[in-house]
Structure formats: C-alpha cells, structure tokens
C-alpha cells in the first residue's frame, strides 16, 4: 500500500476512492493521510467518513460530491465546519447522485459530457455552472448535461483480484467500473489475491480488467469500517461513534493520531481494534456456480 500510494497519488491530484457504502477503501485513505498528501481534489458520490477524515487531516483542497452525510446517523462534521466557515476553507463542486454517476460514465466513455433528464426546477444549476444543457437533434427538447470526470487516480477495493489486476466484485458495485475506466491510473486493493485461473473460471464476474489497472495491493479488512460482502459486515457502531468524534475537532485529531498517524499500516490498525474481526466476520452463504462449458 505504501508504495502504491507513493507512486500513484501525488499532491494536487484528483483522487477518487469509490464504493457506495460497500467496499470503501479506508486503508488507502489512511495511507494518503499518513503520507501527508496536500491540495487533493477529492471526488466521490458520498464523501463518507473517509473523506471527512482526509478533510480533517488537511489533504483536501476541493470536494466533488452528491451526498455528504453519515448514512442513517448524522453529519460529516469536518466537512460541515469547512463549508460553514468554522474550519479551514474547502472548495466544493456539487451534483446529484445521477449527475455524479453520469460524470463517471462520460469519463469512462471518453466523451466530454453526458446527457441526463434532471435538474429542471432545482437550484443546483444556479450554484454549479458546470451543469449545462444540450438540445436534442431529434425532438428539439433541452436536456441537462454534466461534464466528464477523469480522475488522476481511482482506488477501488475488491473482494478478489489476480496479480495483473483482473478484478471481481459482487454485492453492490456502485460506479467502480465507470470510475476505473475514467481514470488515468487505477489502484485495486483486494481482500484476496487469487490465481488468474479463479478469474478465468467465471469471467462474467470480472468488473475491472487488468489492462486498466496500475497497481494491485492485497489488504485484508482494508475497507473497515465499510464492508466487503462475503468477507465482513459494515461496522455500524463505528459510523454511529463518528458523530461524536467528528463533532469535536480535538477528539477527531486524537482519533487520527491514534488510528492513522500512530500506526504503520492496516495490520497494526487491526491489532489496535481487538475483537473487530471476530465481531464483523461474515457468515458463509455461498451461491452455486454456473456452467461455462460448450
């Protein structure tokens, strides 16, 4: 992880750590904080706790997002302090989920924009000049457009990948495929490194091909407190706890000291959280395979 972040994430980059609730790579975010990257443009649909931590750690110059809350719990207070003028400044560029998804689709297709039927009547285009419109060459109607998002680096957490970066994900897949294809560089962080034969045995399961991947990191439990279907559950208790931690800048600083700066890597993080793996370990519910013969 150290080398992958050092090589592929640079100051000033546009960085995407995707994953919708599922497979959010906290391990990569923590390493970026440890390596003290600065002036990053952080983009993802839901900044979630990981970007709140990176904002608090001073990594972010700008945030591009569509929903900035702590799902089912409350606020991302480091983000709120910045935007409400009670903390270090943070530029924001805001869309809806569909708008962000469409930006990644355009990026993945290497088109300059994507067309969606959205934003009519809302105030969002008034505060975001990047939301524009095109006229349909067939019906003459006006439709909304969003610009392509092509990150410098996208980090995708996955259940398994081979050494070449051929990556398989199941459960919620969010916009990881689009973000990876849209990106200049891609880091895949896998729960499990598997032989290519495992990938080739079920090719329809492959979400991201190795030919777009720059680096593969094997990091078990690397998504905690997010989750990995079939590996471990979401740590909802920590998400609840974050409300109190992030509300108090001092508490937040202490958290970063103890769980990020103060630790060398994810293995140490797990050691620092005794009982975690036992508490969240997934039970087995394995599906049947399908026949690829002919």
């Amino acid at each position: 992880m150290k080398t992958a972040i050092a090589e592929h994430v640079h100051d000033g980059d546009t960085v995407v750590i995707e994953g919708f609730t599922h497979l959010i790579c906290f391990a990569a975010g923590h390493e970026i904080i440890r390596q003290r990257r600065r002036d990053l443009t952080l983009a993802r649909l839901t900044p979630d706790l990981i970007y709140d931590q990176m904002i608090a750690a001073g990594c972010a110059k700008k945030l591009v997002f569509s929903w900035a809350g702590n799902p089912g719990v409350g606020s991302l207070h480091a983000f709120r302090r910045a935007v409400e003028g009670k903390g270090p400044a943070l530029e924001i560029e805001e869309y809806s989920h569909f708008g962000m998804v469409a930006r990644f689709q355009a990026g993945a297709a290497r088109l300059p924009f994507w067309t969606i039927r959205d934003y009519a009547g809302t105030d969002l285009p008034r505060v975001n000049p990047q939301i524009r419109s095109v006229t349909c060459p067939y019906t003459g109607e006006a439709l909304a457009t969003v610009p392509a998002l092509n990150p410098d680096v996208t980090i995708v957490h996955a259940q398994r990948a081979d050494a070449a970066g051929n990556t398989q994900i199941w459960g919620l897949v969010g916009v990881q495929k689009e973000a990876a294809f849209a990106s200049q560089r891609v880091i895949v962080v896998a729960e499990e490194l598997v032989d290519t034969a495992v990938i080739r045995a079920d090719p329809n399961r492959t979400l991201i091909p190795g030919l777009v991947v720059s680096a593969v990191v094997v990091e078990p439990w690397g998504a905690h407190p997010s989750y990995a279907q079939g590996f471990y559950d979401r740590d909802n208790d920590f998400y609840v706890a974050w409300e109190a931690i992030s509300r108090d800048p001092a508490k937040l600083a202490t958290y970063l000291d103890e769980y990020v700066y103060g630790l060398p890597d994810r293995a140490a993080y797990l050691a620092r959280n005794p009982g975690l793996t036992r508490r969240l370990q997934a039970r087995a519910q394995v599906c049947a395979g399908v026949n690829y013969g002919f």
Binding site: F20, T21, H22, L45, T46, F65, S66, W67, A68, G69, P71, G72, V73, S75, F79, R80, V83, E84, G85, E94, Y95, S96, H97, F98, V101, A102, Q105, I116, R117, D118, Y119, A120, G121, T122, D123, L124, V127, E141, W170, G171, L172, V173, G174, V175, K177, E178, Y227, Q229, D233, R234, N236, Y239, A282, Q285
Partner: protein, 247 residues
C-alpha cells in the same frame, strides 16, 4: 404512526424506490401486511430486496443477500428511474415548502450556509422521475416554510414555474405525511392543503406547524390510527431497537 400511514399508500406489486429510516419501515410494514409483492429498489443497486434486518444504510449488505438483482448505479438511475419504472418514491428533508419543494442542501445562503445539509443524493431525480412521490416530515414552522431556502427536489411549483412547464415526467409529491396530518397537493394550483387529520389533532395545531396560511379542505378526513397488528409488527419485529421509531 407515520410509518403505518405511509404503508397504506402502497399497493401490492408496486415498484418503490426506498430511502432509509421511516420510508424503509413503511415499506417493510406494507410487505408484512397487505403488499407482500412490493418490489423494493434502493439507489445502491439492490432490486427486490428482502432485508432480514432493518438496514441502517441504503447500502446495507442485508439488502443484497437474497435480492432479485444487484445492478450498478448507472442502471439504477438510467434504466429504472429515468426509464420511468419507479411507481412510488419516498422523500424527506429539512424543509418542505408550500408547493412540495424540498430542501436537503443548505439552510441559509448556499455560499455561506447557516447549516450545511447532505445535499441531493438521489432525491432530485426521484422527485423528477418517480410516477408519484410521498413526502414524510414532522410538522414545524421551520421545517415547513412558504419557500425553501434551496430547491433541491422539485415539487408542484418551482420558483414560480408550474411543474407541468418544467417537463418533469413524474406527478410529484401527491401526499405529505406528517406526524399530525396528511397534506395533499391542490389538483390545479399544486399548493399543499390540509386533507386529513390524525385522531385528536385539530386543524389549528397543523396550521401552527406550517409557515404559510394553510388552506383546509372543506371535507376533512380523519386518519385511522395504526392497527394493533401494525404497532406490534413495527415495535417487536421491524424496529425492535427503536432505531427509527420514536414514541
């Protein structure tokens, strides 16, 4: 009470775009009672979910396990929502105004907000594309201003422009389910009017919770209280930890 009232709005077999919290409770109550074939779709990509536990987030793993389909979010928004396959969408927010517009973005000025809220998420497209939407919010003059500070999700009249002139495919918020009453959109003006009261609630109490001169329907209905079965299901089965039920 709100969850139980919302559940009655769902017909069996309907395709519902579900949010977290009370809407999720309402949907699971409906599934457990009169609408076993309700199809729950979450913006996270879970289609036909049958959560065995109350999901804390819309991306809960329990929504995936045993669902009919898991698809990417591009499909959720393009092939389901924009395609017009969603019959009912649930919305809530910090502010709901006279026209059913919703604000989940900022209180105060966008550039210098008093309170920064999460933002749209999928709400603005649900408000635009779901065939009809149901809004759930507790009455409070600050929560029900005459006009929202920021228009995140379009209702029946947006900054003076009638919905029909905005080319929005869906019918918009047909009902606003509060903790004291049900407001409905006036068929022509689109203004929210008082349509039905919860047992023991007066029209004045509702007026006091709304930041504009609320029009009251001439024939005011009384909302039936939750059945014993509903209450038992909600308290003992669906939300035993009282994650979302309060009182």
């Amino acid at each position: 009470m709100m969850a139980s009232v919302a559940a009655r709005e769902l017909a069996d077999g309907e395709v519902v775009f579900v949010g977290i919290g009370l809407p999720n409770l309402a949907c699971n109550l409906a599934r457990a009672t009169h609408a076993p074939n309700l199809v729950l779709i979450y913006e996270s990509g879970a289609v036909g979910a049958v959560p065995e536990r109350l999901p804390v987030s819309i991306g809960d793993p329990a929504l995936v396990t045993g669902s009919l389909m898991v698809c990417g979010m591009a499909d959720v928004f393009q092939c389901f929502l924009q395609n017009g396959r969603i019959e009912v969408g649930f919305l809530g927010g910090a502010q709901v105004d006279r026209w059913g517009n919703i604000n989940t973005t900022v209180i105060g000025d966008y550039a210098h907000p008093k309170v920064r809220l999460p933002g749209s998420g999928g709400a603005s497209e649900i408000a635009a594309h779901a065939r009809r939407t149901l809004v759930m919010a507790k009455l409070d003059p600050r929560a029900f201003p005459a006009d929202v500070d920021f228009l995140t999700s379009p209702g029946h009249r947006c900054r003076g422009v009638p919905r029909r002139d905005l080319g929005l495919p869906g019918a918009g918020p047909v009902k606003v389910i509060t903790d004291k009453a049900i407001l409905e959109a006036h068929p022509t003006s689109g203004e929210l009017v008082l349509a039905a009261l919860y047992p023991g609630v007066s029209a004045d109490e509702v007026r006091a919770g709304v930041g504009w001169p609320l029009v009251v329907r001439t024939t005011l209905l009384e909302v039936a209280p939750p059945s014993a079965r509903d209450l038992q299901l909600l308290r003992d089965v669906l939300d035993p930890k009282k994650l979302f039920l309060r009182g």
